[in-house]
Amino acid sequence: MSTDILVNVEGVSKKFCRSLKRSMFFAAQDVACGIFRVPLVTDRLRKSEFWAIDNVSFEVKRGECLGMIGSNGAGKSTLLKLLNGVIPPDKGRITIRGKVGALIELGAGFHPMLTGRENIYVNGAILGLSKKELDRKFDEIVAFAELDEFIDMPVKFYSSGMHLRLGFAIAAHLRPDILLIDEVLAVGDNSFRAKCTRQIGRSLAGGTAVIFVSHNMNEIVRVCDKVIWIERGRIVQDGDASNAVGAYLLANDREETLRSETAKPELIEGARLRNVEICDVEGNVRSCFRTGESLIVHFDYEKDPEIKELTFSFAMSLGDEKNYVSCHSPWTGFVLRSHNNFGRVTLTIPQLLLNTGLYLLNVGIWNERFKHAYDWRWGFRHIEIRNENDSFTGRFFLPHSWSESAHGNGPGIRPGPDHTLPR
């Protein structure tokens, strides 16, 4: 095995117990086995136990950033605890080469009665820094945490942001070979997050291996080289960051989309939708489209003869219940005026300029002024849209082009203040 591999996880499993009482009994049993040198049977489940981590393997090299994604309770934090050596695995083996720094529980050892200054020394000592190192780095830590005037205030008067900043600043000065990060950045404000991300980038450049847990997919894609997606303690997918994140987003969309339920408008009698057909331009019924393809929607309606006017609506939304696309027929001047009891109305969207995602379709038929709905179906069907270019980070795919300009600002021309971009 190459020495460039700093973290090597081979077939690691960890079990937990659902019942507190029983888990105390099992703990006592495990300890007793340890004392009397009875080999522990760790690879079988006892009553009410389950695998919190199940046969997970991966490796992280020097200067590489591994992202860990998955829904809440998937086992990401447990895996970090195993890597950090806080709890031992029940099966498999973890090899760690070098000093581990963890941005997991920032400021865990802070004593509320002590000042920030005193806590820097205590927390630093817990994380393994000597007094000499701390003396040297003290000013840097205070500056990084932006706490200059508050450093002699008791930590219990600190805001949660100040607490976090101080914790991060101390941990960031550890200079570890392996850095574990568990969603700690979620609490800080934007400028602090940006600063932390830059810090992580620097440590990567310096040869640190980083393992990064986050629910912010943009952050994951920006920072990580590869991603493992964990669900119920198992790796669902690993490999290239953008592929894994794309797959995760698609699966998440599917779950949330199918769960979502929105307040219905009040319905009145008089007309209803008999069928809605989703087709491509050739008339084939489909549920999966590529970005840029055309979408044809046929509305089959029936109505009472005395109803003279009908309008139609079509919208596409995601699990967040926001409509990303809406097409209301009066907007393009279409109001159905017909004496027939039934008929078909067709909507044509020439180009689906949407990125990868699972979209929920919402349709309705309304009276002329959109006050009352005759029929309204939220999420009656869903379609999957795929963009082969992996550009899943935005929702929309706007037509665009890139080119090189013949005359740019030469080096002698100072750009005006309006043109300077913030760094």
């Binding site: 004392i35 029940d90 050892g109 205590v122 200079r175 070979d177 830059r198 440590s203």
Partner: protein, 298 residues
């Protein structure tokens, strides 16, 4: 705005690559497997965490009385109150206490100071892991430092109590014996015994919080079956108190040293010394073995 802060950033974040050769392997039985040379690892861990222990001691002592007016007087008040009650009970004849080698006030105050050194170490080491909370479950550092550091405050309080003791001893005219300089030798087993039991109790307390509560009751009872506030009895069956209770010989030795400048029960004292050392080492080993299996309860 962000660019304003960038001057504060750390210049570089290079990893300490020479240390990358340190390789740690975690498996299900990593700590159980090693036999005798595990003591090498345990001692190395202790030596590496000396500075941390010292930091934690300073933290506990300086934070302890910060939000109080009487501050360090709290180290003295409980023992003085207890002694006052017993002096009252003795002089009124409610409780007959046999003659003590030095004036009773001095004897009782010294006894209770020793006893509180022992119980203080035991109680704070028992609670040390539970008090650290998420530090135990989430941060990887030598947890044994928490237990060692927990002895800091009780020892500091003991030193503070030496001040009123000196005052009482002088005012009652108790002669100073030069042999008192051997005191550390009689105090050490007391602390070792407390820590040894504390190692086991701290882990037990992490799993079952009953342990901490039960300990309080046990220690209150313990004070009466240890010659703290009365001289060691010599009639059967009460003499058993001096022998069966492993704390008694250690306590009696410290009291003898002050009163006579020598030991009256040297055999019991030496065996208690060895017993304390064994409990201390056994507890320490148990702690290393058991903590990784139960740390999730913190």
């Amino acid at each position: 705005m962000e660019s304003l802060h960038s001057v504060h950033d750390i210049e570089a974040f290079p990893s300490s690559s020479p240390r990358a050769s340190v390789e740690v392997i975690y498996t299900s039985d990593s700590i159980c497997r090693q036999s005798w040379h595990v003591w090498g690892i345990i001692l190395r861990e202790f030596l590496d965490s000396r500075e941390l222990i010292w930091r934690l001691i300073l933290r506990d002592i300086s934070a302890r009385y910060r939000q109080s007016v009487l501050s360090y007087l709290w180290a003295i008040i409980p023992s003085i109150a207890t002694v006052a009650v017993f002096v009252l009970l003795k002089t009124s004849g409610t409780i007959p206490i046999s003659e003590t080698p030095i004036p009773y006030v001095a004897y009782a105050l010294w006894g209770i100071s020793l006893w509180q050194l022992f119980t203080g170490c035991l109680a704070s080491s028992t609670g040390s892991l539970a008090a650290a909370g998420s530090l135990v479950t989430k941060v990887n550092f030598p947890k044994v430092a928490l237990v060692f550091a927990s002895a800091g405050s009780p020892i500091f309080d003991f030193v503070v109590r030496l001040v009123p003791l000196a005052v009482i001893f002088t005012s009652y005219g108790v002669p100073f014996k030069w042999q008192t300089i051997f005191m550390p030798f009689t105090l050490a087993p007391l602390i070792l015994l407390a820590l040894g039991v504390g190692f086991v109790m701290s882990v037990a307390n992490l799993v079952l919080r009953d342990v901490g509560n039960a300990l309080g009751i046990a220690l209150t009872l313990g004070m009466f079956i240890t010659p703290v506030l009365y001289p060691p009895p010599f009639e059967w069956p009460f003499v058993l108190i001096n022998i069966v209770n492993p704390v008694s010989p250690l306590l009696i030795a410290s009291q003898d040293l002050v009163a006579y400048g020598g030991l009256t029960m040297s055999a019991a004292f030496i065996s208690s010394w060895i017993f304390s050392l064994l409990v201390f080492l056994g507890g320490w080993r148990f702690f290393n073995l058991a903590l990784p299996r139960v740390s999730q309860f913190a």
